[in-house]
Amino acid sequence: MGLGRRDLLKLVGGGAAGFFLTPVPWRLIDGVAIRTESWPGVPDPPRGEVRTRYTTCTLCPAACGVRARCVVDQPVSLAGVASHPASAGVLCPAGLCGHHLPLLPNRLRQALARKGDNFQPVGIDAVAGAVATALADMRQNGSAERVAVLDARPGRTASLMYRRWLRAAPNGTYLLAPSAEATAPMGIDIARTGTVLSFGAPVLDGWGTPGRVLEARKTFRLIQVETRQSRTALLADGWLPIRPGTEAALALGIANVLIEEKLYDAAAARNASDFAAYAALAAQFPPQRAAQLTGIPAQTIIAAAHDFVGHGPAIAIAASDPGGGPLGEDEQIAIAALNVLSGSIGREGGFLPRGEASRPAGFEEAALAPEQGIAEVPDASIRVLIIDDARAAGTWCWSAIERKLAATHIVVAMTEFLEGAAQHADFAVPAPAYLEAGEDAPAPPDVPAAMFSLAGALLKPPPEAVDGAAFLNQVAGGGPALADVLKQRVAAIHASRRGEVFHYADASRTAVRDVKSAADLWKALEEGGCWIDHQPTPHEKPLFAILGDAPDRVLEAASGRLPADAQFPLALVPYGWRGAAGGAISPIMTKLYQESDLRPGGDTIELHPDTARKYGVADGHVAIVQTRCGSCQRRVRVDESVMPGVIQAEVGPSASGNCRPEALLNACGVAGDGTWRLARASLRRA
């Protein structure tokens, strides 16, 4: 018996040993190895049919063509549309991850009403009701107060609808965003431009239509006038590091050289009614004086002037930087005048008047409220303010808008996120996000030819979301839906029989006159396409005044914007990058400002080593930037490329997330014309 048991044990033991000599257990272990891949924290990408769909980017005025790779209906990646007439197959970082925006956790999904310092849910009809009663009240006692729509993305069909609606409303006022690029009166024929003299415009870092500009970069020379060694300055053929706020002086200095040396386009000058006055003004800024003011050596200024007209066609631009705000009107005049001297206005390779896609009947200019800048509206005059796309307004100075509001007022923000201006509103109304709104994209600001493209919705908006038009209809109790007006507009374009359709899918083009019906045109645009008019032909140059009514203001501007100030010895130069300067951004953008040091981030300031030493701060310290209008706390980065005596502050997202741009922007203070480019500041370690 005992013996039997022993045998049994032997058998089992031997069996076990034998088993381990076979591949079986090892195979099993191999399998286990693979299994360790499935780990709790790792999400499983959804599978499904992969399709390619097309739309147009509406995150900035560039209106780039978008090719979306979708799993079933969900876009999983965005890319440019190759050989797109404007964007030339390019998307910017923000555009590449635009499909994340609708899914952001802080998405606004229902209307909110302000209660004290925080918001409470409310029905949209209640919001509309509040606006309606306010309007009724204004009508009743015919008050002089205004109803205003502040449009962050002008030039859309929706903008036209606002303007028509405002026309009917009491003192309806249509306001343009302080730094609206879309409203440039003329386009640039960049493909044929010979020289670009840029006053702080981020030409290579998100200006106009990036694809188009970068493609043309091979052919134009770039002279960058900028305090900051921006990305554009780094890649420019010449960089003129200019003392903050003295752009006008440089412009006049260059003008001086050109006029003295008779290097300007006399023919073009003859069209200017007040050229003599302008020349006289320029005469006050010989290179030496300009050098004193701008800190750029006289020789360099002279050389720049020669450079400028040396390789025509030459244009001078002073577009805005999304964080730094636009240059003051007067600087703009001084700079624009250079285009008269280079004769680039209305000629190939220069500025060409922008065409516009035909409008449907009832939207003639006469039937619409005029476009106005915030500066043009008297203070304390707005009773009802409706802000469209408040998110894009992330870099406005609220103080500029606030001072326009009447004592009792309602501010309604149509927005996807409770960001930017929306935080100051009385009501926040959820709007469809990017890729959710079936709307049109305005023609890019720098493209002379008229363009029209649909930003077809790839995703369903949240049930509560309403677009601006629908909201106004609700207020007014009826009116056409945006979609219908869009259809009308497409019909109008079809009727005009002008231009051609570019199809995103295969980069083919069809002349509009070959498109059978308006419906077909609509289909073509909705499936992914854009309509583009012929390149406008140069026309007779009209008579115009260079300085207009502002010769002394220009002179004042040219004498320097930043008077010395013992209490605030430093110059605060804010700057931002298109697509991230505003409120919400995709979390993937952390790659740029948190997981790398590619972008300093919105919680930092950059100083020259000497400046830092002088004010007792070092790399990594936290410093307080103080101006007359406010202050903000930021981490110091010491950088040899910064101009001594200057504080560079990025307006944008930050790893710490605790830094909102407002603090900085408000500290910058706002000029009468609603710009905030510069401020005097002092610095101390926190």
């Binding site: 591949p23 090892w26 195979r27």
Partner: protein, 274 residues
């Protein structure tokens, strides 16, 4: 790892590296297994006690492993290599012959310390006496008795159990320590006594003429004992105890006289337990 596992290549690197690895594993495994098997075998054939003594003897400090013939003054310095079992010692007979000439008549006591010479002494402080009936009585000698005194517990072997020389004959527990006593000679247990009887065991020898060459007798025993007393004194004074305080007479019961730990250590030393 193995030819059938993903990533394995039959190249020199793999063959050499893994070859070396498996060899090492095999060697280690083989060594351990061998040790296990052998030890299992020894346990089965009850060689345990032999091993225990072997080790104990090996672990004894050199001064406690002196050859009996050195103690006897026949050689200057010699260490025992046979665990005090002279029967398996090649040199022993030579010494005996050499010593044969030298005959002396010792007296049966050592500074008033009884040392009967009718018996043979083992270096573990036990004695063996051949009885008329051919059995062997085994007991503790005077020193051993005084060391252990009255044990609280006594583990004596069962009747009929066979003991080997130098195996544990019995163990006595006292002061929280157990002291083992070595068997002076092999034999089968016939009866067990205790401190009061004056003897502990009665053994039936394995053969008619038990071989007792390894045991100490007569003068040799006396000389050994006197040396043992010196050793005890050394240990005791080291522990500062009253052992020989009164001019040389050993106290009756060291177990009571010494502090517990001290006593255990001394017992270990004297009864050849490391």
């Amino acid at each position: 790892m193995f030819p059938w596992v993903n990533g394995f290549k039959w190249d020199a690197g793999h063959v050499i590296f893994l070859g070396a690895f498996y060899t090492v594993v095999m060697i280690v495994l083989a060594t351990v297994v061998r040790a296990l098997v052998r030890s299992r075998h020894h346990v089965r054939v009850e060689k345990v006690e032999a091993f225990r003594w072997k080790q104990d003897f090996h672990d004894l400090p050199a001064r406690d492993r002196r050859c009996r013939h050195e103690l006897n003054g026949e050689v200057d310095s010699r260490l025992c290599e046979n665990g005090f079992d002279c029967r398996s010692c090649a040199k022993h007979p030579e010494f005996v012959q050499a010593a044969a000439a030298r005959a002396d008549l010792p007296k049966g006591e050592l500074f008033g310390f009884p040392m009967p010479l009718d018996r043979l002494y083992h270096r573990g402080h036990t004695w063996v006496r051949k009885e008329k009936d051919g059995t062997l009585s085994v007991g503790l000698d005077e020193l051993g008795a005084r060391l252990i005194g009255k044990p609280e517990r006594l583990d004596l072997p069962e009747l009929g159990q066979h003991l080997n020389a130098n195996a544990t004959a019995w163990s006595a527990a006292r002061n929280g320590a157990t002291i083992r006593v070595l068997a002076p000679i092999e034999g089968t247990v016939l009866a067990t006594g205790g401190p009061d009887q004056g003897w502990y065991l009665k053994l039936r020898p394995d053969g008619p003429q038990p071989d007792t060459r390894h045991l100490l007798r007569d003068g040799e025993a006396v000389r050994w004992m006197s040396r043992e007393l010196d050793r005890l004194q050394l240990l005791a004074t080291h522990g500062a105890c009253p052992a020989l305080a009164d001019g040389g007479a050993l106290v009756e019961d060291l177990g009571a006289a010494l502090p517990k730990n001290e006593w255990a250590a001394v017992c270990g030393e004297m009864l050849l337990e490391p």
